[in-house]
Amino acid sequence: MSNFFALIQNENMKIYRKNATKVMLIILLGMILAAGLIIKLNQPAPKENTQWKQSLVQQNKMYQQQMAQVKGSKQAVNYYKQTIATNQYRIDHNLKPAQGMTLWSFVESAAPNAALLISIFAIIVVSTSIASEFDTGTIKLLLIRPIRRTEVLLSKYLSTLMFAVFCLIVLFVFSWLIGGIMFGFGGAAEAHLSYINGKVYETSWVLAIWKNYLLSCVSLFMMVTFAGLIASAFRNSGLAIGLSIFLMMASSIIIQLLGGYSWVKYVLFANTDLTQYTTGTPLRSDMTLSFSLTVLAVYYVIFVIIGWLFYTKRDIKA
């Protein structure tokens, strides 16, 4: 197994020595910086608000009335309940709500787009790592070592996942820095309020952000595995990259189009967004978190087995 560590080292060397990878990291950093600048420049100067408690009390009153009117919709009721409880918590504990963008709200708002970008990068990395060695012919010198093809494939897959984690760390650190520079490092101490089962808790922003990242990674994880399967099966990195990114981008449209059918719940993309069980509403009322996790697991196992078979069993003709 010490050998396996060496394989990971090799794959990492091949990933990070490529110019394409360096460009990806630069794009990621550039995107965060641009987002910070755009928000900063378009944000009105914050007014000093000493009356915030009164305005929260007023807001809560208004929400109470509105909640009474929308009784039928469980989702809306939940939303009002959460906002009211959070506001009340602020009043009780003397926690002034933030004005405009803060360090942490910037880190949070950068997450969805950056996660999509990182997914695209990870798809490109896994497809190139697996398929491009067939194009360049280096696969021949790679697979004539006393090492099983399974181990080679696994090292490529794990190195890609490590690359994705690395990107997330870069994203976290850099968006924290940019958030601090643009909106003040004073915001770093801000409390994060979460609403769990009808109660409000003060939790850590760091945890909240990483939970957010992790949920976005469900789609990343599945699409990287899918791209790996296509790359192994067709030995063509362009096809693997194109098809995976296309499906990922089109996933919400696909789900909308199929929304009417009951079997839509078995479609991969109906289950990759787990926030439907935390903050949103499930796509279909008969879907639960454990149902989605089961569907994801089944897809995952199928992707892995097919990809593995293609990679390990076929002749190398390159």
């Binding site: 080292q9 360049t136 021949k140 190398i316």
Partner: protein
């Protein structure tokens, strides 16, 4: 040199009834032969004969449809790791990672087999004469430099079986000579078994101890280079004062047809023992003889003869 090999009798590489089909097309047909430590085995055949396909099966890149291959007694099918631990190889062109330097490429391969230290890498770099350029990216290498780097990665782990598919491709004359000398040392001093496939037939003649000729996936025969060349019969070239007269004399007195007649020379395809008889006869018939040379056929002539002269680069 073959006596030592004969005594050991343990093949380094052994092919047993190896057959490979692509779909219904049989590309390798029931190939069986053995290669021993201490010899350079030349794998010869026209384009598309199946040399590369055979090598791919030996190194586990392709599965065989039938048969089995053993490397130092380990089956490539069932003991892949033990078998491949013994092998260093170049398959077709030595394609390396172009975005890495030569040295990084070697580190990459060194990591995949335990027991290769920095010193060994430097040693191999020195050996293939790439020291000055080893820290440059491979995309800036010439073909010959890539070939040298390919050789370096094949030698890193001191394999007991070295397989080189067209290793002289792209090498300059000095490189070819170095390779030849190095292969000679490897086999004689370290008992390594070397398999070389090449189109440079004259090269093979200098480099190889035995050659196997393959055509359309079938083995036409395995012989030592000397046997192979001589089997076509010996030729004698006699320099004389009058070629036409000499030809007439041997035809009338000895009933031997002359292969070629020049004004001042004739060439005869005759057995070794017949040479003095011919010379005696000519002398007695007043033909002046200025010289007699025995001309062995070149490997190339023999190769063309055996394979029917078709489909050769």
């Amino acid at each position: 040199m073959n006596s030592k090999v004969e005594a050991e009798k343990k093949p380094a590489v052994k092919l047993e009834h190896v057959t490979k089909k692509f779909g219904s097309k049989t590309v390798i047909d029931d190939l069986s032969f053995e290669i021993y430590g201490g010899e350079v085995f030349g794998f010869l055949g026209p384009n598309g004969a199946g040399k590369t396909t055979t090598i791919r099966m030996v190194v586990g890149l392709m599965r065989m449809t039938k048969g089995n291959i053993f490397i130092q007694g380990h089956s490539v099918k069932s003991e892949f790791k033990q078998a491949l631990r013994q092998v260093g190889a170049i398959v077709e062109n030595p394609e390396m990672y172009k975005f890495l330097t030569g040295y990084q490429n070697l580190i990459h391969y060194a990591r995949m087999i335990p027991g290769i230290d920095k010193k060994r890498i430097d040693e191999v770099v020195e050996l293939v004469d790439l020291k000055e350029r080893i820290n440059e990216k491979v995309k800036r290498y010439s073909l010959g430099m890539r070939q040298r780097l390919g050789l370096a990665q094949a030698l890193l782990h001191r394999p007991s079986v070295l397989i080189l598919d067209e290793p002289t491709n792209g090498l300059d004359p000095q490189g070819i000579r170095d390779l030849r000398n190095y292969l000679h040392d490897l086999t004689r001093k370290e008992g390594v078994a070397v398999i070389v496939s090449s189109h440079l037939l004259s090269e093979m003649q200098l480099m190889c101890d035995r050659i196997g000729i393959i055509q359309k996936g079938k083995l036409l025969g395995v012989e030592t280079v000397n046997e192979f060349v001589q089997e076509g019969g010996e030729k004698v070239r006699l320099t004389v004062d009058d070629g036409a007269m000499a030809a007439r004399v041997v035809k009338e007195k000895l009933a031997i047809e002359t292969e070629s007649i020049e004004p001042q020379a004739i060439e005869l395809a005759i057995d070794h023992e017949k040479i003095p008889v011919v010379i005696d006869t000519l002398v007695m018939s007043q033909v002046k003889i200025y010289g007699a040379v025995s001309v062995t056929k070149s490997l190339e002539d023999r190769f063309l003869e055996v394979t029917g002269g078709k489909g050769l680069v």
